[in-house]
């Protein structure tokens, strides 16, 4: 582990890696709003609403504390019995630190980046998306998110600041919270959503930045680039080349000269080939090879779409 050697940072990066890339939120919402408006029934039977256990005041923290205290007492006693008694008191110390929890807190405390408001969706493969977005319900716009101060992640990602109090509070009245604080965008949702607008600067979700404190901007940008390309590859693998193209378009918009720009171009050729647009794929391949004949991808590019084309 070269960079992130703290458990909290490790958890932060893990969390960021699970977060949805780019403009997924808007796309998913657009489709969902349409399906809901059409009255499409869900495919799964709804589970019964869960029942919250009753927590007597004070119980929320006491088991951990009690166990810690017992642990400490036991260790101290053990230490007293040991001929190495001077080493024993050190043992209970790590209990109190709960570093992994602090990780999320650290993420949330990352400073807000007020990104410039910009039309987020038109920048992507807008033609297809825009009409659908217009039909969706009143989903918050990119601008709303962009000006959002990073709220402490209300319901969905409230850090367990004191062994769960924040989370419980956050979940207590989610709808009211959401209404009162429309910018309480969870984690890198807002970040990535808004981050879309600011990405050309290499700015990325606060959560990702927080997770990479001290590593500069390059690593988070790369992480985001990787995420987009992974999503594109996954779409290709599952025979959804159009979706792959939309991920790649997004990458091209946000990171036109990104570290993985060449990779994107190769993936684009593959996607075009998979959609059956072989002429376009061949044209892009030729363009690629002309521009970057010595690219490490050149060999692969030459082999793409070969079986379906009369390639040179």
């Amino acid at each position: 582990m070269k960079r992130s050697c703290e458990p909290q940072s490790v958890l932060g990066q893990y969390r960021a890696s699970l977060s949805p890339p780019g403009t997924t939120r808007q796309r998913v919402w657009d489709e969902l709003a349409q399906r809901a408006a059409a009255g499409e029934p869900p495919n799964v039977a709804p589970p019964p609403p869960p029942v919250m256990p009753v927590v007597p005041a004070g119980l929320a923290w006491s088991p951990g504390l009690l166990a810690g205290a017992l642990c400490a007492v036991a260790l101290v006693i053990a230490g007293a019995w040991s001929w190495r008694s001077q080493h024993a008191p050190a043992a209970p110390a790590p209990r109190a630190r709960a570093l992994p929890v602090a990780a999320v807190v650290a993420l949330e405390q990352a400073p807000a980046v007020p990104p410039p408001a910009a039309p987020h969706d038109s920048a992507r493969s807008g033609a297809a998306q825009a009409p659908r977005a217009a039909r969706g319900a009143s989903f918050p716009t990119a601008t709303e998110h962009a000006v959002a101060p990073r709220a402490p992640l209300g319901a969905s990602t409230a850090p367990v600041r004191a062994s769960g109090h924040a989370g419980r509070d956050g979940a207590a009245r989610p709808i009211e919270r959401a209404a009162a604080a429309p910018n309480a965008v969870p984690g890198s949702a807002g970040g990535s959503f808004a981050g879309f607008d600011v990405a050309p600067n290499g700015r990325v979700p606060a959560s990702v930045r927080g997770a990479n404190t001290g590593t500069g901007e390059a690593a988070p940008q790369l992480e985001e680039e990787l995420r987009l390309l992974r999503a594109a590859y996954e779409a290709l693998r599952s025979d959804r080349p159009k979706r792959a193209l939309s991920w790649l378009d997004e990458h091209a918009t946000r990171f036109p000269h990104g570290a993985l720009a060449e990779t994107r171009e190769v993936a684009r050729i593959m996607a075009l080939c998979q959609t059956g647009q072989r002429e376009a794929a061949r044209a892009e391949a030729a363009h690629f090879l002309q521009r970057s004949p010595r690219s490490p991808h050149a060999g692969r590019v030459r082999s793409l779409c070969v079986e379906t084309s009369e390639a040179p």
Binding site: N43, L153, V160, A219, R300
Partner: protein, 201 residues
């Protein structure tokens, strides 16, 4: 919650799955109160649901469908839902159901079709490895836990859910949740330190 009154949409259901409820299903007309409520819930919890689905094994594109599925259930059941602080727990239980359904559907698909050849891996493995190191550590750690423990760890340390929420989501007692939280935190810390000191095992 506004009442969500709807007609059952005619037509078959993918994978022959029955619609979730026998009563007429809700449609959520744009610009209705129901739609705004759904939008608010979506805005607040989209990322959470996404991460849960990803954690439960769905890929990015499966998660796109999965998130929609989760919120379709929410839209359908919102009028009956009584908020008692367990909303995220509820979303989690729905997501779990959706993930399990998606995995079954995926297996059926696999039986029907040959998978396409996997596209080539991302280039520059060194870069990728560096970026993925943290992820690899957490996943290695989670793989050492049994599923129940891993979920408690995930919900607690990654999603910052409270112990009562986790207990509700997983149907566990509070004591069990506290016990697992304590143990897994300690183990995780040791695990990370060991990995940093000794490199990947």
């Amino acid at each position: 919650m506004g009442g969500l009154v709807m007609d059952l949409r005619p037509g078959g259901h993918p994978q022959g799955v029955r619609p979730a409820s026998a009563r007429p299903l809700s449609s959520v007309p744009p610009d209705s109160a129901a739609s705004r409520e759904l939008a608010e819930l979506f805005r607040s919890h989209f990322e959470f649901v996404w991460r849960v689905l990803r954690r439960l094994g769905l890929s990015d594109h499966e998660a796109e469908d999965g998130v929609q599925e989760v919120f379709l259930v929410v839209a359908d059941k919102l009028s009956e839902y009584e908020e008692r602080g367990a909303l995220r727990a509820w979303l989690f239980t729905i997501a779990r159901q959706v993930a399990s359904h998606a995995r079954r559907a995926d297996q059926r698909r696999l039986h029907r079709h040959q998978r396409l050849d996997a596209p080539p891996p991302l280039p520059d493995p060194q870069q990728l490895a560096e970026q993925n190191e943290a992820v690899a550590i957490v996943e290695a750690f989670l793989s050492e836990l049994d599923e129940g423990q891993a979920l408690v760890f995930f919900l607690s340390e990654v999603e910052a859910m409270s112990a009562p929420e986790i207990a509700a989501a997983l149907g566990l007692t509070l004591t069990t949740v506290y016990g697992r939280q304590r143990l897994s935190r300690k183990r995780f810390e040791a695990f990370v330190r060991q990995r940093i000191a000794g490199g990947p095992r």
